[in-house]
Every structure is written in structure tokens, then in C-alpha cells.
Symmetry: C2
Subunit: 150 residues, 2 copies
């Protein structure tokens, strides 16, 4: 059975390993020993922010999935809170077992608990499987996701 | 000359008026006197959160533009901060004067000041002019923007 909990600093190694073990992630993450300090600082900032949650999915003691949730009070849509999902990954060893869907379903429930009126994410247009996955779960690709590196 | 500053509670009326005076916004905002309480609560939550900034553009004393910036510490991209822009609007009276571009250029500079490595936004696929506007400013539509109402 899969359980979900807030990540602790001890999970960071497993999390970065999952982020790096990905077609796009492998080009931009650095899974090294020791972990680059930037990951540790980001974890600390997330952990200290009540509007950010780094969530791990566990199979027994093993960390097999991760996602980050951000809760934002927006002035638009009549001043409603919104949840944003980012960095969804599952461990290669458990792919195809529906753990990704369980992660997202968990995020949807958590967003409702937090009083959000919308949940959103962006996915790289190169990830055609991911787009179908999210559409099956009820998301609609109504928007263009625009990015600029600084 | 356009100046930019953090919005105060006194600007909320002008802000909601701009949000509602928009093809898509008119279907989902409520510009009424008094303003619905949800806008006031959202303003208070934004104002209390160091990672959210509601910014107005002013021409003299007059509020002629608005945007909300959210700064998020992400574990992805080697644990880098990211800025998200939402709810960009300019007053109908000043459209076509480049104030929208100045808002976004201001957001880009603010994101750099905050140490962000990326700036991002989503725009409704129905807003074809907006897509071209953001692409001209250097954004790339590399992602699908997926949403689900809760």
C-alpha cells in the first residue's frame, strides 16, 4: 500500500535521484554525493513555507514517488486559492503500477482540503505521454505554458 | 511616466475593475460595491506572504495596470527559485501604450532581484494576442498549461 507524507531532509537523496532519472531531468539535475547545496537550501525554504509542501509516496519504508505542491492566494477568480503541482516523479522500479495517478489524486484531495478552487500544472510539450496521463485524470490543456530562463 | 509599487488595500477597487474589464475576466470576476469579501481576504493573504507580491502600475496617481508575482522555492532545476506571473491587466484607457510590456519587464527584473532562475506564466489559448505578446518579450511556449476546477 502506498502512503503519502511530507518529505524530510533524509528523503532528499531519494528525491533528487528520482528527479535526475528522467529524460528531461537528467539534463538539468545533479544527483551527486554529497548533494549540491542548492537542493538542501531549496528543501529548507520549502519546509519553512506553509504554502509549499514537498510530498513523498512510500511503499513501506521505500520512497517511490515525489511531487511539490504550492498553494497560492490569487486575486483573480474572485480571490481564490490555487494549488500548483510541480516535479512529479515515480521511481523507475515501480513505474506502470498507478503510483503516479495516486500521487495526483492525493494532490487533488489536498488542494480541496486547503480550500483551493483550482489545481494546475504545466508539462513540457515533449512529454506527450504525460499530457494524456493528466487529461485522463481530468485536467484540461486550456493554457499555453510560457517559460523564460533568467 | 509609469511607476510600479506594491498594491495597498485602497487599490483593490481599481484592481478588480481591471480584472473584470476583460473578455475572459468578465465571466468570472465580480466588480461590485462593496467588493465581495473574497477579494479582500485574498489581498490580505497576498500582503502577508513574503513570496507573493501584488504590483500596480501607476500613471501619476492613477492605477493603470496590475500583476501578481509569486516566488517559489522549487526542488527541481537544482533547487532553484522561480517567479510566476498571474493576472496581468492594463486599464482600457491606456491600452496600446506599451504599459503591458513595461509590467512584464518590471516582473523580469524583480524576479532576477529575488534570485529566480526562471520566470513563467500560463495564458489561455483563446488569448492569441497575449501569446504573441509574451513571445515577443522572450518567453517560449514550451509547455502545456493544464487546469482543473475543484
Amino acid at each position: 500500500m502506498i502512503t503519502f507524507r511530507a518529505a524530510s531532509a533524509k528523503d532528499l537523496n531519494d528525491i533528487v535521484q528520482m528527479l535526475a532519472d528522467d529524460e528531461l531531468g537528467s539534463t538539468r539535475e545533479r544527483y551527486e554525493t554529497p548533494l549540491p547545496e542548492s537542493y538542501i537550501k531549496a528543501f529548507e525554504a520549502i519546509d519553512a513555507d506553509p504554502n509549499n509542501e514537498l510530498i513523498v509516496a512510500c511503499l513501506g519504508e521505500e520512497v517511490v514517488g515525489v511531487q511539490q505542491l504550492t498553494f497560492t492566494p490569487y486575486i483573480t477568480h474572485q480571490g481564490s486559492w490555487r494549488a500548483t503541482i510541480e516535479g512529479v516523479r515515480t521511481a523507475a522500479s515501480v513505474r506502470g503500477q498507478g503510483i503516479g495517478s495516486q500521487l495526483i489524486e492525493w494532490a487533488i484531495e489536498r488542494a480541496k482540503e486547503r480550500g483551493c478552487r483550482m489545481i494546475q500544472l504545466t508539462t513540457d510539450k515533449k512529454r506527450t505521454d504525460a499530457l494524456r496521463f493528466y487529461e485522463r485524470l481530468g485536467f484540461q490543456a486550456t493554457h499555453e505554458g510560457l517559460k523564460m530562463k533568467l
